[in-house]
């Protein structure tokens, strides 16, 4: 039996069994999903206008959410990693909360803030007449809310790992903090940024609870793929399985496409 550390002996059987059970547990539902797919109806299901709309909407909103994570999350991660300010622990805790919050609770929280009678939503409505819930913008907001922690925390880790001494070298050469950020920190953190974006994109693709609560289930504007699967589940289970497979395939494709570029860089 091949061992990772030759010379230390065979891996213990109980570890192999437990690990094997873990893999089987994770793989089984995926295998079952593929096996129970209605292959004969697959094409017709996948090409319905609902399916195409939902897939397009999912891709669009996840990308927009990832972009927002980048714009707001990169500076935030930098602040957490590089600046020692009072209340840093509190800020980090706040950033972590959406990650552990049940998504549907996140949806309720978003409504409280941006809904018609929300803290920000009400003044916005009075001033500009805009309404955020049940729109595509609401979807993007919900996705950003749940995905941001993944991006920020993974990037903060990558930034911390980047040698501070390199930034010191840059400073000694005359670069102020902004120049160092631009020309040293960001280029070196790029693989970390990419990995964080991938995480954020994947999390946002799969987002359901916050989306359905805050944005509703409107085909074409807010019905993303997971919401479509949920709706189909009650109506036509085969169609739900087919849509699930599409989502599964998209995720696998993204992971495969980016695997070499980013995972390799991470190592």
């Amino acid at each position: 039996m091949a061992t990772a550390a030759p010379g230390l002996g065979r891996p213990p059987l109980r570890l192999l069994l437990a690990g094997g059970a873990g893999v089987a547990f994770l793989a089984l539902p995926l295998v079952a999903l593929v096996a129970s797919a209605p292959w004969d109806r697959m094409w017709s299901i996948v090409t319905t206008s609902d399916s195409r709309q939902a897939l397009w909407l999912s891709a669009w909103t996840s990308t927009a959410a990832a972009a927002l994570c980048l714009v707001f999350g990169l500076p935030l991660a930098w602040l957490l990693a590089r600046v020692d300010f009072r209340g840093r622990r509190v800020v980090r805790a706040v950033v972590t909360v959406p990650m552990v919050l049940p998504p549907v609770v996140a949806g309720v929280a978003l409504l409280s803030a941006f809904g018609r009678h929300g803290l920000v939503g009400e003044p916005l409505r009075h001033m500009f007449g805009t309404q955020i819930p049940y729109t595509t913008s609401a979807v993007v907001l919900a996705h950003t809310f749940v995905a941001m922690p993944f991006f920020v925390l993974s990037l903060e880790g990558a930034l911390r790992a980047t040698s501070l001494r390199l930034e010191l070298a840059a400073a000694s050469l005359g670069a102020d903090r902004w120049t160092t950020f631009r020309r040293v920190t960001v280029p070196l953190a790029a693989p970390g940024v990419a990995a964080g974006l991938l995480l954020a994109w994947a999390r946002s693709l799969g987002e359901f609870g916050a989306t359905i609560t805050f944005a509703g289930n409107y085909p074409g504007t807010t019905q993303t793929m997971p919401l479509l699967v949920y709706a189909r589940l009650q109506d036509d289970r085969d169609a739900a399985v087919a849509s699930s497979l599409v989502l599964f395939a998209v995720c696998m494709l993204v992971l495969l496409l980016l695997r070499d570029r980013w995972w390799g860089a991470l190592r």
Binding site: R165, L168, A169, S172, G174, T179
Partner: protein, 358 residues
């Protein structure tokens, strides 16, 4: 003439002390780990606040409130710390560009310094394909390209092979001859001190224990660390096999064969002094005259001169008792001997005879 650098650091528990340096001076900062060398350098660089009573004044300008990027201090580290995502030229050009010089002009400056450090042909290479010596040359070029008033070197050659270090040391010595700023060099290597330093600043327990020329410190070291570090006997010559023809005349015998120009070194503790010509197994022996004998605790460091065929001078460490027995007073003639097995031979392209020709 007012000094170029005037630094006082007041950080009790880390380092408290003051020093000044004139334009063109090279100061070697030595001391055991934890003595405060890094603290001193970091204070001058601006990474560390020098304390309430501390200050850093360069060219009569108060650097104390300025962050590192507003000072003119070049840093060269033990690990080259070149920017991995930029090639050698862009690394060297980084400083000028950060200080507002245009892109093309910065590259021209970069090329100039790469040429000066002998690595012009590596300008387009990425740092990860450079050898240790090549990378450190680029790092030196990078620091020199900003024409700093203060050059801070933190054990610049300690990560390199001995022969590569020797090459770089001599190259740096060459460039420092024309350098008009102040150099602070933290080092654990006596060869650095011998080749480059005008003064040695000895640190111990967070304070300056001694601040004098290398020769003076070698002769009368104030701390055990300084005693071990300096005072190393270094003889230059040309080796063929186990014999070294010394530049000052005479022969030195090695235990392991070597070839070509070498620096033969042995510590003062390896030198045995006898009143009469020795009869033991030591292959290397010279008749020599005591110049000074300085006692520190139980050890007496004897500075011997006129050692024909042994670079004219030697340092030997003997016990108090031995010193008394041998009556080591100035002018006394004694025999010095060293076992061949105690001698280390380092390859050397140049002969680093010290800074005496400045």
């Amino acid at each position: 003439m007012s000094p170029l650098l005037d630094a006082r650091v007041d950080l009790p528990g880390r380092f408290s002390g003051a020093l000044t340096a004139s334009p063109g001076e090279v100061l070697a900062v030595v001391g055991p780990n934890g003595a405060g060398k890094t603290t001193l350098v970091e204070a001058v660089a601006g990474i560390l606040d020098p304390g309430d009573a501390g200050r850093v004044v360069v060219d009569d300008a108060d650097w104390t409130p300025l962050p590192p990027h507003r000072r003119s201090a070049g840093l060269v580290f033990q690990e080259h710390l070149l920017f991995p995502h930029l090639d050698a030229r862009d690394n060297v050009a980084f400083g000028p560009r950060a200080r507002g010089v245009g892109r093309r002009e910065s590259q021209r400056v970069a090329d100039h310094w790469l040429e000066a450090l002998g690595v012009a042909d590596l300008a387009s290479r990425a740092p990860d394909v450079l050898s240790g010596g090549e990378a450190q040359r680029v790092a030196l070029a990078r620091a020199l390209a900003i024409e700093p008033r203060v050059l801070l070197l933190d054990e610049p050659f300690s990560a390199l092979d001995v022969s590569v270090a020797a090459e770089l040391r001599d190259l740096l010595a060459h460039h420092l001859r024309a350098f008009q700023g102040v150099v602070l060099m933290v080092t654990h290597d006596v060869l650095d001190v011998r080749a480059l330093a005008d003064r040695v600043v000895v640190l111990e327990h967070g304070a300056i224990a001694q601040d004098d020329t290398p020769a003076a410190v070698a002769e009368a070291p104030a701390t055990p660390h300084a005693a071990r570090l300096l005072g190393l006997n270094v003889l230059s010559g040309s080796a063929s096999g186990t014999e070294v023809e010394l530049d000052d005349g005479g022969l030195l015998v090695l235990a392991s064969p070597a070839q070509g120009p070498v620096l033969a070194t042995f510590p003062p503790s390896a030198v045995t002094l006898t009143a009469e010509a020795p009869v033991g197994s030591a292959r290397n022996r010279w008749e020599t005259t005591v110049h000074r004998a300085v006692r520190r605790d139980q050890v007496v460091r004897v500075h011997l001169q006129g050692t024909a065929g042994a670079g004219a001078q030697l340092y030997a460490d003997v016990t108090r008792g031995a010193a008394t027995e041998l009556d080591l007073t100035p002018g006394r003639v004694v025999w010095a001997s060293v076992k061949a097995t105690e001698v280390t031979a380092l390859p050397a392209e140049f002969v680093a005879a010290g800074r005496g020709d400045r």
